[in-house]
């Protein structure tokens, strides 16, 4: 361990380096374990260039657990699997359905897969 002389200490003080610890003891044991905080954007968005956001207006999708004012994250890069929630276009209108749904008389165009539903809890 390096032992600081008092001369060095006073030099630091003179520089006005307030950020430096003036203790000459052991450094914080956490120093080597420091990690950046959780970043929601990084966690929820796998492909930024293919992700779009949709704001829900109304409660008619509550059977999918989607509520008024929720925000859907739509990831267009993911291929839907059975029972995934997807945003589709039917007759020029956006709809949310479970994939796949057998449509006898209407066909749909897949717009994107719903990867997350952001819900404000209060």
């Amino acid at each position: 361990m390096e032992i600081f002389s008092s001369g060095k200490l006073s030099k630091i003080k003179n520089k006005g380096a307030s950020g430096l610890s003036k203790q000459s003891g052991f450094p914080s044991p956490a120093t080597h374990y420091a990690e950046p905080s959780v970043d929601l954007h990084k966690e929820l968005i796998a492909n930024r260039d293919a992700t779009f956001y949709v704001r829900i207006d109304g409660d008619e999708l509550s059977n999918y657990n989607i509520w008024d004012k929720d925000v859907l994250l739509i990831d267009r890069s993911l291929a839907p699997k059975k029972n995934d929630l997807v945003l589709v276009v039917i007759d020029g209108e956006f709809k949310v359905i479970r994939f796949p749904r057998v449509f006898l008389e209407t066909e749909f165009v897949l717009w994107g897969l719903i990867s997350y539903i952001i819900h404000y809890a209060r």
């Binding site: 293919a50 956001y53 207006d57 267009r76 276009v89 956006f94 949310v96």
Partner: protein
């Protein structure tokens, strides 16, 4: 090989991505302040008689009668969508040259073992899947040929499906014979007229001209195009954009304005915008041009227009210095009694900041203000555009500002303007 990827009717299709009710229908986008039509999708282009670049008020009825949906330009949205496309493209090649908001060149020379046609389709399909934007892909040994291949990819859609590769001598010659001389990238209207006069109608005939003739009559620029069309790459790849040589902005006012104070505020606001761009690219301007004019299209207004160019003592990118210079310039060219439609500023003589020379006759303490600009930009980047602004921009209602009546929401950049889904019983 080089690929040129470009988005089909980019502005209009950006709007359609979020409006499935408009899929397959004619859509046009208007310029700033709804001046004229600047973009139209293929459905709108198919309706003959919708002139591009015609003032909006003249064709508004025509558009409505033909059920054409029109949008005010939403550059925030187009810029963000463009960024997505460019990001996706950079996953297909290490060298991407962004050529404009909706086109880019890709260097595919490392992909020798790939089928170029498959790769082209993969690029096209990925962009469409991720963003909903349709693109055309042209692949060829040179930039000029890639541009041509791109054009062909869109012409015979059923056959090429948006991808065309020039990878053999036969295909190259066929493409050149197909291309009208005035459609070749880089050959301007003057040269193409001249070539037509001597009987050169298509690109193939152009390549048959002797090298010496081309050099003599069309300079080295023409010669480069000539070689590129032969399949010999001569135009460099530019992955780092060259700094702009001139930066300017001029927008029509929301309404006609007589008051000098109001015009000065608009002018100061434009200066703030362009000087920020200048600082972003770390350069300074030597000349400042300010111009002012009335509405050319109005029959009952007195017409007046004037422009003035100021040489700055020391080249600068400082908002406050530029605003005060612009204000002086405006005072010179402004004439009372006219109803003005537009004020514009243009900065030129742009040089890198670290090449700026001092001026013997101007004291230098002005430099200290650079630190201020630095803090200014930092705050605006963190808290949003125009959080801090020069007092000369004014705080009263900006009567000169853009009227964006039919602008679509900024779906991808504003939390309050997200795509809205009205739920209905399924």
């Amino acid at each position: 090989m080089i690929a040129l990827v470009d988005c089909n009717s980019f502005y209009a299709t950006c709007e359609q991505v979020f409006r499935p009710d408009l899929w397959g229908k004619p859509v046009v986008v208007l310029s700033n302040n709804d001046g004229c039509v600047i973009a139209a999708n293929k459905e709108a282009k198919a309706l003959s008689g919708i002139p591009m670049f015609e003032p909006f008020f003249k064709i508004k009825k025509l558009l409505i009668d033909n059920n054409v949906t029109f949008f005010s330009s939403n550059y925030t949205l187009y810029g963000e969508m463009s960024q997505r496309v460019m990001n996706i493209l950079s996953s297909f090649s290490p060298e991407v040259e962004i050529y404009s908001i909706d086109e880019a060149f890709l260097d595919l020379s490392g992909m020798k073992h790939f089928s170029m046609n498959c790769y082209g389709h993969q690029i096209k399909d990925t962009i469409f899947q991720y963003t909903g934007l349709p693109v055309g892909v042209g692949i060829a040994p040179t930039k000029v040929l890639a541009k041509l291949a791109n054009k062909i990819s869109k012409k015979r859609v059923s056959e090429n499906k948006g991808v065309f590769v020039i990878d053999s001598e036969e295909k190259r010659i066929e493409a050149l014979q197909w291309a009208d001389i005035n459609t070749v990238w880089g050959i301007g209207s003057k040269h193409s007229k001249r070539l037509k006069d001597i009987g050169i109608l298509n690109a193939y005939e152009f390549t048959q001209l002797p090298k010496e003739w081309v050099r003599k009559n069309m300079t080295v620029v023409g010669l480069r195009i000539w070689s590129e069309l032969q399949g010999k790459p001569t135009i460099e790849f530019k992955t780092v954009p060259s700094p702009k040589k001139g930066i300017g902005t001029a927008k029509s006012f929301g309404k006609k304005i007589e008051d000098l104070g109001m015009i000065q505020e608009a002018c100061s606001s434009y200066i703030s915008e362009v000087s920020e761009l200048l600082r972003n690219q770390k350069s300074c301007a030597t000349y400042l041009q300010v111009f002012l004019h009335t509405n050319y299209f109005s029959n009952h207004d007195q017409q007046y227009s004037k422009s003035i160019t100021v040489t700055l003592g020391i080249p600068t990118n400082n908002t406050f210095i530029l605003i005060s210079e612009a204000k002086k310039a405006l005072n010179i060219i402004y004439k009372p009694g006219y109803r003005f439609k537009k004020v514009g500023v243009c900065l030129s003589g742009i040089i890198p900041s670290n090449y700026v020379q001092g001026n013997l006759f101007i004291p230098t303490p002005r430099w200290e203000k650079n630190e201020l600009m630095h803090v200014f930009d930092k705050i605006n980047r963190k808290y949003g555009k125009s959080t801090l602004f020069s007092g000369l921009v004014g705080t009263r209602a900006k009567e000169w500002e853009l009227v964006k009546e039919d602008r679509s929401p900024r779906y991808t950049t504003q939390w309050k303007e997200l795509l809205k889904l009205k739920t209905t019983k399924n």
